[in-house]
Subunit: 247 residues, 2 copies
């Protein structure tokens, strides 16, 4: 066309070489994805083993989630009692019907909040179009227990307990709102779970979040203060009333 | 130790599983690196072919570098005349003597600025320690032509030509300062060249920098205004006096 004639250049040759380079780049990308899948499969039995072990540690996931400095801001104190019943957190690759993505599933023991045993959130991309589809499970809240409704009565027995005073808790949405919303973009909560927590949950359980501001760095395990002021990070005082009341 | 006894938990089992998962992650990472190297080798002949083609297009690398919206801020107008002589830009993986990294080499035609035919900058990491070693080639400037010295007389015949008026050029360091400095961290210039330009130089040559602010998006090819106000992005007006005076 005009422009090319003006500068008196034919770029066909260059474009052909770039196409060849691009084809190799795409091929590499595909192989990387395959390799990644292969290793996901290899890791699966280990993830399952880890899930089993973690489910036996009282409040493992509650403490782990709360020790992620960014994620914890999406959990309000009313969620704590409910998340004490979270026994299994699982992150699975999804790859079916031309869709690819991640499924986050949360399995709870019998609890006074909702009837579901398992709730999930799933982000899937259409491999052709790239379109994102978000799927979530509706939560069957028990009467008066819906934590996503502002002012919902969260937990009777915990009322008045002086935990996590520092937070302006009224302004923090419930973690369970995540299961309500079908975002257009992948949410940071999913990313934090997959990229941070899932890679080393024990690190977070122990409170070693590298990205933390450092304030809580020396908050050790085993400080089982009965009821004290030390629970800001969802610390170990929850150990006492943990892990029972279920199945 | 104390803490673990307190919470009455033995995390050995969990740690062992996490170690196994980590080992697989490391293995995957290694394979990814291998795959990447394999494809770099496959691409090499194509890169060489591309280099040959580009070297025949007048001012190819000058225009390509200038059309990178971030990189262009590291090139001052006095550099232009020198970069017209840049015939080959090459990016090569370096992997020897336990060091791994990238070598950027710039081959020039005979020019009035320096005696080197080739100048390079190299970033290498020690595979064991992770330590970064930066290596650069000294430029043998001809008398009075050192573009990295402020106020150096860049080019006689271009003086007074009204190109690229918009820039407060005195405040922009010469691009060639990059070859002086041995940064502690890898410089953005290297990243831009490797991650952006090297992946699709033709795109940049044509002025299709996705990251651009959009102002110059409709700046087409072939607008060969003699000397006009349209040259802000190192556009095509340089075509006229391009590609001679060398070899």
């Amino acid at each position: 066309d005009m422009a090319e004639e003006d500068v008196d250049q034919d770029f066909t040759e260059l474009q052909e070489v770039e196409d060849k380079i691009r084809a190799l780049t795409d091929e590499l990308e595909e192989k990387m994805v395959e390799l990644d899948k292969e290793y996901s499969k290899k890791k699966r039995p280990l993830f399952d083993e880890r899930i089993k072990i973690c489910s036996k540690i009282p409040n493992f996931w509650l403490n782990t989630l709360l020790n992620h400095s960014e994620l914890q801001e999406y959990i309000n104190t009313s969620d704590y009692d409910c998340l004490r019943h979270l026994k299994i957190l699982d992150v699975q690759d999804v790859d079916q019907d031309g869709m690819q993505g991640t499924r986050y599933s949360f399995t709870f023991t019998k609890n006074p909040f909702f009837d579901n045993q398992m709730i999930f959130k799933e982000f899937k991309y259409n491999k052709e179009s790239g379109e994102l589809v978000v799927d979530t499970s509706p939560i069957n809240w028990k009467d008066g227990c819906n934590l996503t409704l502002k002012g919902a009565q969260s937990s009777k027995e915990e009322k008045g307990k002086g935990k996590r005073e520092a937070t302006e808790d009224n302004e923090v949405q419930s973690f369970f709102c995540w299961f309500d919303s079908r975002e257009e973009t992948e949410s940071p909560i999913g990313d934090w779970i997959r990229e941070d927590i899932w890679k080393d949950p024990f690190k977070y359980f122990c409170g070693d979040d590298d990205d933390e501001d450092g304030e809580e760095d020396d908050e050790g395990e085993g400080e089982e203060g009965e009821d004290g002021e030390d629970g800001e990070e969802g610390g170990e005082e929850e150990e006492e009333d943990a892990g029972e009341g279920d199945e």
